[in-house]
Protein backbone atom coordinates (compact mmCIF):
# COMPACT_ATOMS: atom_id res chain seq x y z
CA UNK A 1 0.00 0.00 0.00
CA UNK A 2 2.65 2.50 1.04
CA UNK A 3 4.56 1.57 -2.09
CA UNK A 4 1.80 2.63 -4.43
CA UNK A 5 1.41 6.03 -2.76
CA UNK A 6 5.16 6.58 -2.81
CA UNK A 7 5.39 5.87 -6.52
CA UNK A 8 2.27 7.82 -7.50
CA UNK A 9 3.96 11.25 -7.93
CA UNK A 10 6.37 9.76 -10.45
CA UNK A 11 3.64 7.99 -12.40
CA UNK A 12 2.89 10.62 -15.05
CA UNK A 13 6.56 10.81 -15.83
CA UNK A 14 6.75 7.01 -16.15
CA UNK A 15 3.87 7.10 -18.62
CA UNK A 16 6.03 9.17 -20.97
CA UNK A 17 8.97 6.91 -20.46
CA UNK A 18 10.10 5.04 -23.55
CA UNK A 19 9.57 1.33 -23.23
CA UNK A 20 9.42 -1.70 -25.52
CA UNK A 21 5.96 -2.84 -26.69
CA UNK A 22 6.03 -5.96 -24.52
CA UNK A 23 6.45 -3.95 -21.32
CA UNK A 24 3.18 -3.08 -19.56
CA UNK A 25 2.70 0.53 -18.51
CA UNK A 26 2.35 -0.26 -14.83
CA UNK A 27 5.85 -1.75 -14.59
CA UNK A 28 8.85 0.41 -13.88
CA UNK A 29 11.16 -1.59 -16.12
CA UNK A 30 11.31 -4.80 -18.15
CA UNK A 31 13.36 -6.34 -15.33
CA UNK A 32 10.70 -5.52 -12.78
CA UNK A 33 8.03 -6.98 -15.06
CA UNK A 34 10.07 -10.17 -15.50
CA UNK A 35 10.67 -10.50 -11.74
CA UNK A 36 7.00 -9.95 -10.88
CA UNK A 37 5.83 -12.46 -13.50
CA UNK A 38 8.41 -14.99 -12.38
CA UNK A 39 7.30 -14.56 -8.77
CA UNK A 40 3.65 -15.06 -9.75
CA UNK A 41 4.48 -18.17 -11.76
CA UNK A 42 6.27 -19.68 -8.77
CA UNK A 43 3.29 -18.92 -6.51
CA UNK A 44 1.08 -20.76 -8.99
CA UNK A 45 3.50 -23.70 -9.05
CA UNK A 46 3.46 -23.83 -5.24
CA UNK A 47 -0.33 -24.28 -5.31
CA UNK A 48 0.29 -27.10 -7.80
CA UNK A 49 2.85 -28.67 -5.46
CA UNK A 50 0.29 -28.62 -2.62
CA UNK A 51 -2.32 -30.16 -4.93
CA UNK A 52 -0.15 -33.04 -6.12
CA UNK A 53 1.31 -33.30 -2.61
CA UNK A 54 -2.14 -34.19 -1.28
CA UNK A 55 -2.40 -37.03 -3.81
CA UNK A 56 1.09 -38.27 -2.93
CA UNK A 57 0.25 -38.22 0.80
CA UNK A 58 -2.94 -40.19 0.20
CA UNK A 59 -0.94 -42.73 -1.79
CA UNK A 60 1.67 -42.99 0.98
CA UNK A 61 -0.90 -43.59 3.72
CA UNK A 62 -3.00 -46.08 1.77
CA UNK A 63 0.10 -47.96 0.64
CA UNK A 64 1.05 -48.48 4.27
CA UNK A 65 -2.47 -49.48 5.20
CA UNK A 66 -3.11 -51.96 2.39
CA UNK A 67 0.48 -52.88 1.67
CA UNK A 68 -0.01 -56.36 0.07
CA UNK A 69 -2.75 -55.02 -2.21
CA UNK A 70 -0.61 -52.07 -3.32
CA UNK A 71 2.39 -54.31 -3.97
CA UNK A 72 0.39 -56.78 -6.07
CA UNK A 73 -1.40 -54.02 -7.97
CA UNK A 74 1.82 -52.17 -8.79
CA UNK A 75 3.21 -55.37 -10.33
CA UNK A 76 0.64 -54.81 -13.07
CA UNK A 77 2.50 -51.73 -14.29
CA UNK A 78 5.01 -52.12 -17.09
CA UNK A 79 8.48 -50.91 -16.05
CA UNK A 80 9.67 -50.73 -19.67
CA UNK A 81 6.97 -48.24 -20.67
CA UNK A 82 7.41 -46.33 -17.41
CA UNK A 83 11.16 -45.97 -17.95
CA UNK A 84 10.68 -45.04 -21.60
CA UNK A 85 8.20 -42.35 -20.62
CA UNK A 86 10.57 -40.98 -17.97
CA UNK A 87 13.31 -40.67 -20.61
CA UNK A 88 10.85 -39.01 -23.02
CA UNK A 89 9.76 -36.49 -20.41
CA UNK A 90 13.31 -35.65 -19.30
CA UNK A 91 14.24 -35.15 -22.97
CA UNK A 92 11.28 -32.82 -23.42
CA UNK A 93 12.43 -30.83 -20.38
CA UNK A 94 15.87 -30.58 -21.98
CA UNK A 95 14.50 -29.36 -25.32
CA UNK A 96 12.36 -26.84 -23.41
CA UNK A 97 15.40 -25.56 -21.49
CA UNK A 98 17.24 -25.22 -24.81
CA UNK A 99 14.22 -23.33 -26.11
CA UNK A 100 14.61 -20.79 -23.31
CA UNK A 101 18.28 -20.43 -24.23
CA UNK A 102 17.40 -19.89 -27.91
CA UNK A 103 14.88 -17.25 -26.88
CA UNK A 104 17.45 -15.50 -24.68
CA UNK A 105 20.08 -15.51 -27.41
CA UNK A 106 17.48 -14.56 -30.07
CA UNK A 107 17.75 -17.65 -32.27
CA UNK A 108 14.36 -17.81 -33.92
CA UNK A 109 14.66 -21.04 -35.91
CA UNK A 110 16.38 -22.73 -32.97
CA UNK A 111 13.52 -21.72 -30.70
CA UNK A 112 10.89 -23.01 -33.13
CA UNK A 113 12.80 -26.31 -33.46
CA UNK A 114 13.04 -26.70 -29.66
CA UNK A 115 9.36 -25.94 -29.16
CA UNK A 116 8.36 -28.39 -31.92
CA UNK A 117 10.56 -31.11 -30.39
CA UNK A 118 9.06 -30.47 -26.94
CA UNK A 119 5.60 -30.63 -28.51
CA UNK A 120 6.38 -33.96 -30.22
CA UNK A 121 7.93 -35.49 -27.08
CA UNK A 122 4.84 -34.42 -25.12
CA UNK A 123 2.65 -36.24 -27.66
CA UNK A 124 4.90 -39.33 -27.48
CA UNK A 125 4.51 -39.35 -23.68
CA UNK A 126 0.73 -39.26 -23.99
CA UNK A 127 0.89 -41.98 -26.67
CA UNK A 128 2.78 -44.31 -24.35
CA UNK A 129 0.37 -43.46 -21.54
CA UNK A 130 -2.49 -44.45 -23.88
CA UNK A 131 -0.87 -47.85 -24.49
CA UNK A 132 -0.68 -48.37 -20.72
CA UNK A 133 -4.24 -47.19 -20.07
CA UNK A 134 -5.52 -49.43 -22.88
CA UNK A 135 -3.98 -52.48 -21.20
CA UNK A 136 -5.62 -51.53 -17.88
CA UNK A 137 -8.99 -51.14 -19.58
CA UNK A 138 -8.64 -54.53 -21.31
CA UNK A 139 -7.74 -56.25 -18.03
CA UNK A 140 -10.60 -54.53 -16.20
CA UNK A 141 -8.23 -52.72 -13.87
CA UNK A 142 -10.12 -49.45 -14.12
CA UNK A 143 -11.95 -48.82 -10.80
CA UNK A 144 -15.72 -49.04 -11.12
CA UNK A 145 -18.47 -51.49 -11.94
CA UNK A 146 -16.35 -53.57 -14.31
CA UNK A 147 -13.35 -53.86 -12.01
CA UNK A 148 -11.96 -57.40 -11.93
CA UNK A 149 -10.04 -58.98 -9.04
CA UNK A 150 -8.93 -61.92 -11.16
CA UNK A 151 -5.24 -60.90 -11.40
CA UNK A 152 -5.03 -60.77 -7.61
CA UNK A 153 -7.17 -63.75 -6.62
CA UNK A 154 -5.68 -66.05 -9.31
CA UNK A 155 -2.22 -64.57 -9.99
CA UNK A 156 -1.21 -67.66 -12.00
CA UNK A 157 -3.80 -66.73 -14.63
CA UNK A 158 -2.16 -63.32 -15.10
CA UNK A 159 1.13 -62.95 -16.95
CA UNK A 160 2.41 -59.91 -15.05
CA UNK A 161 1.37 -61.27 -11.64
CA UNK A 162 2.92 -64.65 -12.44
CA UNK A 163 6.20 -63.05 -13.54
CA UNK A 164 6.37 -61.11 -10.27
CA UNK A 165 5.72 -64.30 -8.30
CA UNK A 166 2.55 -62.98 -6.66
CA UNK A 167 0.63 -65.20 -4.26
CA UNK A 168 -3.19 -65.11 -4.22
CA UNK A 169 -4.50 -62.34 -1.95
CA UNK A 170 -7.41 -62.93 0.45
CA UNK A 171 -10.60 -61.40 -0.95
CA UNK A 172 -10.81 -58.48 1.51
CA UNK A 173 -7.20 -57.46 0.75
CA UNK A 174 -7.57 -58.06 -3.01
CA UNK A 175 -10.47 -55.59 -3.07
CA UNK A 176 -8.09 -52.82 -1.96
CA UNK A 177 -6.16 -53.14 -5.24
CA UNK A 178 -9.00 -51.04 -6.66
CA UNK A 179 -7.84 -48.22 -4.39
CA UNK A 180 -4.34 -48.48 -5.86
CA UNK A 181 -5.72 -48.16 -9.37
CA UNK A 182 -7.98 -45.31 -8.31
CA UNK A 183 -4.93 -43.41 -7.08
CA UNK A 184 -2.94 -44.52 -10.15
CA UNK A 185 -5.54 -43.07 -12.52
CA UNK A 186 -6.08 -39.97 -10.38
CA UNK A 187 -2.37 -39.17 -10.23
CA UNK A 188 -1.28 -40.12 -13.75
CA UNK A 189 -4.55 -38.68 -15.10
CA UNK A 190 -3.98 -35.29 -13.44
CA UNK A 191 -0.40 -35.41 -14.68
CA UNK A 192 -1.58 -36.22 -18.20
CA UNK A 193 -4.11 -33.36 -18.02
CA UNK A 194 -1.24 -31.00 -17.20
CA UNK A 195 0.65 -32.40 -20.20
CA UNK A 196 -2.36 -31.82 -22.48
CA UNK A 197 -2.70 -28.22 -21.30
CA UNK A 198 1.07 -27.75 -21.75
CA UNK A 199 0.98 -29.20 -25.27
CA UNK A 200 -1.91 -26.88 -26.21
CA UNK A 201 0.07 -23.85 -24.98
CA UNK A 202 3.14 -25.14 -26.85
CA UNK A 203 1.11 -25.23 -30.06
CA UNK A 204 0.15 -21.61 -29.53
CA UNK A 205 3.77 -20.70 -28.73
CA UNK A 206 5.10 -22.35 -31.90
CA UNK A 207 2.94 -20.00 -34.01
CA UNK A 208 4.00 -16.95 -32.00
CA UNK A 209 7.67 -18.01 -32.11
CA UNK A 210 7.53 -18.37 -35.90
CA UNK A 211 6.32 -14.78 -36.04
CA UNK A 212 9.35 -13.81 -33.94
CA UNK A 213 7.47 -12.91 -30.77
CA UNK A 214 9.96 -14.40 -28.32
CA UNK A 215 13.24 -13.60 -30.01
CA UNK A 216 13.11 -9.81 -29.76
CA UNK A 217 14.04 -9.47 -26.09
CA UNK A 218 10.78 -10.71 -24.57
CA UNK A 219 11.75 -13.98 -22.91
CA UNK A 220 9.32 -14.02 -19.97
CA UNK A 221 6.55 -16.08 -21.56
CA UNK A 222 8.85 -18.83 -22.82
CA UNK A 223 10.72 -18.81 -19.51
CA UNK A 224 7.58 -19.14 -17.39
CA UNK A 225 6.09 -21.79 -19.62
CA UNK A 226 9.41 -23.61 -19.17
CA UNK A 227 8.88 -23.46 -15.40
CA UNK A 228 5.46 -25.08 -15.84
CA UNK A 229 6.82 -27.78 -18.14
CA UNK A 230 9.71 -28.61 -15.78
CA UNK A 231 7.26 -28.74 -12.88
CA UNK A 232 5.20 -31.36 -14.73
CA UNK A 233 8.48 -33.24 -15.28
CA UNK A 234 9.22 -33.13 -11.52
CA UNK A 235 5.79 -34.59 -10.71
CA UNK A 236 6.57 -37.52 -13.00
CA UNK A 237 10.06 -37.90 -11.46
CA UNK A 238 8.25 -38.83 -8.21
CA UNK A 239 5.27 -40.65 -9.75
CA UNK A 240 7.50 -43.06 -11.66
CA UNK A 241 9.40 -44.61 -8.70
CA UNK A 242 6.39 -44.51 -6.35
CA UNK A 243 3.94 -46.19 -8.74
CA UNK A 244 6.23 -48.43 -10.80
CA UNK A 245 9.41 -49.19 -8.93
CA UNK A 246 9.29 -49.37 -5.14
CA UNK A 247 7.15 -52.51 -4.92
CA UNK A 248 9.23 -54.63 -7.29
CA UNK A 249 10.89 -56.50 -4.46
CA UNK A 250 8.23 -56.51 -1.79
CA UNK A 251 6.56 -59.88 -1.54
Amino acid sequence: MSDSTAIAPGAPEAAHHEHPPYQRHHFESVEQQADATNFAMWLFLLTEIMFFGGLFTAYLIYRNWYYPAFVAASHQLNIFWGTANTAVLISSSFTMAMGVWCSETRRKSGLVLCLVLTFILGIVFLGIKTIEYKEKIEKHHVPGLHYSLNSFLNPDSDEAAKAAGDKPLPLDMARHTELYFFLYFAMTGMHALHMIIGIAILGFMIFKARAGAYTAGHVTFVENFGLYWHFVDIVWIFLFPLLYLISRHAN
Partner: protein, 113 residues
Protein backbone atom coordinates in the same frame (compact mmCIF):
# COMPACT_ATOMS: atom_id res chain seq x y z
CA UNK B 1 12.78 16.65 -5.50
CA UNK B 2 13.81 14.24 -2.78
CA UNK B 3 11.14 11.85 -4.02
CA UNK B 4 12.71 11.90 -7.45
CA UNK B 5 16.14 11.03 -6.09
CA UNK B 6 14.71 8.22 -4.01
CA UNK B 7 12.80 6.98 -7.01
CA UNK B 8 15.90 6.99 -9.14
CA UNK B 9 17.86 5.12 -6.49
CA UNK B 10 15.20 2.39 -6.33
CA UNK B 11 15.25 2.11 -10.07
CA UNK B 12 19.01 1.69 -10.03
CA UNK B 13 18.84 -0.88 -7.25
CA UNK B 14 16.32 -2.86 -9.32
CA UNK B 15 18.88 -3.15 -12.10
CA UNK B 16 21.56 -4.45 -9.76
CA UNK B 17 19.13 -6.94 -8.22
CA UNK B 18 18.27 -8.69 -11.46
CA UNK B 19 20.90 -9.16 -14.11
CA UNK B 20 19.22 -11.61 -16.49
CA UNK B 21 21.29 -14.77 -16.38
CA UNK B 22 21.67 -16.85 -19.54
CA UNK B 23 22.47 -20.47 -18.70
CA UNK B 24 24.82 -21.86 -21.36
CA UNK B 25 23.68 -25.02 -23.25
CA UNK B 26 26.56 -27.09 -21.84
CA UNK B 27 24.97 -26.82 -18.37
CA UNK B 28 21.64 -28.08 -19.76
CA UNK B 29 23.39 -30.93 -21.58
CA UNK B 30 25.28 -32.04 -18.44
CA UNK B 31 22.09 -31.93 -16.34
CA UNK B 32 20.14 -33.78 -19.06
CA UNK B 33 22.70 -36.61 -19.21
CA UNK B 34 22.87 -36.76 -15.39
CA UNK B 35 19.08 -37.05 -15.20
CA UNK B 36 19.08 -39.91 -17.74
CA UNK B 37 21.82 -41.72 -15.81
CA UNK B 38 19.92 -41.28 -12.53
CA UNK B 39 16.79 -42.67 -14.20
CA UNK B 40 18.81 -45.76 -15.15
CA UNK B 41 20.20 -45.99 -11.61
CA UNK B 42 16.75 -45.80 -10.00
CA UNK B 43 15.38 -48.52 -12.32
CA UNK B 44 18.43 -50.69 -11.64
CA UNK B 45 18.15 -50.13 -7.88
CA UNK B 46 14.52 -51.30 -7.95
CA UNK B 47 15.70 -54.75 -9.08
CA UNK B 48 18.07 -55.05 -6.11
CA UNK B 49 16.57 -56.47 -2.92
CA UNK B 50 17.05 -53.81 -0.22
CA UNK B 51 13.87 -54.41 1.83
CA UNK B 52 12.81 -51.14 3.52
CA UNK B 53 15.56 -49.25 1.72
CA UNK B 54 14.07 -49.78 -1.75
CA UNK B 55 11.53 -46.96 -1.39
CA UNK B 56 14.04 -44.79 0.49
CA UNK B 57 16.68 -45.10 -2.23
CA UNK B 58 14.07 -44.49 -4.94
CA UNK B 59 12.82 -41.35 -3.18
CA UNK B 60 16.36 -40.09 -2.52
CA UNK B 61 17.25 -40.42 -6.20
CA UNK B 62 13.95 -38.68 -7.01
CA UNK B 63 14.84 -35.80 -4.69
CA UNK B 64 18.29 -35.45 -6.32
CA UNK B 65 16.72 -35.41 -9.79
CA UNK B 66 14.06 -32.89 -8.76
CA UNK B 67 16.72 -30.67 -7.16
CA UNK B 68 18.77 -30.70 -10.38
CA UNK B 69 15.68 -29.75 -12.41
CA UNK B 70 14.73 -26.95 -10.00
CA UNK B 71 18.24 -25.49 -9.70
CA UNK B 72 19.31 -25.66 -13.34
CA UNK B 73 16.41 -26.29 -15.75
CA UNK B 74 14.19 -23.92 -13.77
CA UNK B 75 17.16 -21.66 -13.11
CA UNK B 76 16.51 -21.11 -9.40
CA UNK B 77 20.28 -21.19 -8.78
CA UNK B 78 20.65 -18.01 -10.85
CA UNK B 79 17.40 -16.31 -9.91
CA UNK B 80 16.56 -13.45 -7.56
CA UNK B 81 16.54 -13.86 -3.80
CA UNK B 82 12.76 -13.38 -3.89
CA UNK B 83 12.38 -16.46 -6.10
CA UNK B 84 14.75 -18.50 -3.92
CA UNK B 85 12.83 -17.50 -0.81
CA UNK B 86 9.50 -18.33 -2.50
CA UNK B 87 10.66 -21.79 -3.56
CA UNK B 88 12.23 -22.47 -0.16
CA UNK B 89 9.17 -21.29 1.78
CA UNK B 90 6.88 -23.33 -0.47
CA UNK B 91 8.87 -26.55 -0.03
CA UNK B 92 9.08 -25.95 3.71
CA UNK B 93 5.29 -25.48 3.99
CA UNK B 94 4.77 -28.56 1.83
CA UNK B 95 6.99 -30.69 4.11
CA UNK B 96 5.24 -29.34 7.22
CA UNK B 97 1.84 -30.25 5.76
CA UNK B 98 2.91 -33.77 4.76
CA UNK B 99 4.87 -34.27 7.98
CA UNK B 100 2.00 -33.24 10.22
CA UNK B 101 -0.54 -35.31 8.29
CA UNK B 102 1.66 -38.39 8.49
CA UNK B 103 2.48 -37.88 12.17
CA UNK B 104 -1.24 -37.67 12.85
CA UNK B 105 -1.86 -40.98 11.09
CA UNK B 106 1.12 -42.63 12.76
CA UNK B 107 0.21 -41.51 16.27
CA UNK B 108 -3.54 -41.94 16.08
CA UNK B 109 -4.63 -45.04 14.20
CA UNK B 110 -1.53 -46.83 12.95
CA UNK B 111 -2.14 -50.58 12.92
CA UNK B 112 -5.85 -50.23 13.68
CA UNK B 113 -7.33 -50.08 10.22
Amino acid sequence: MSEHTEHGAQHGAGHVEHEHHVTPPIVYIVIFVTLLILTGVTVGASYVEMHVFNPIVALLIGVVKATLVILFFMGVKYSTRLTKLTVGAGLFTFLVLIGMTLSDYISRAWGRW
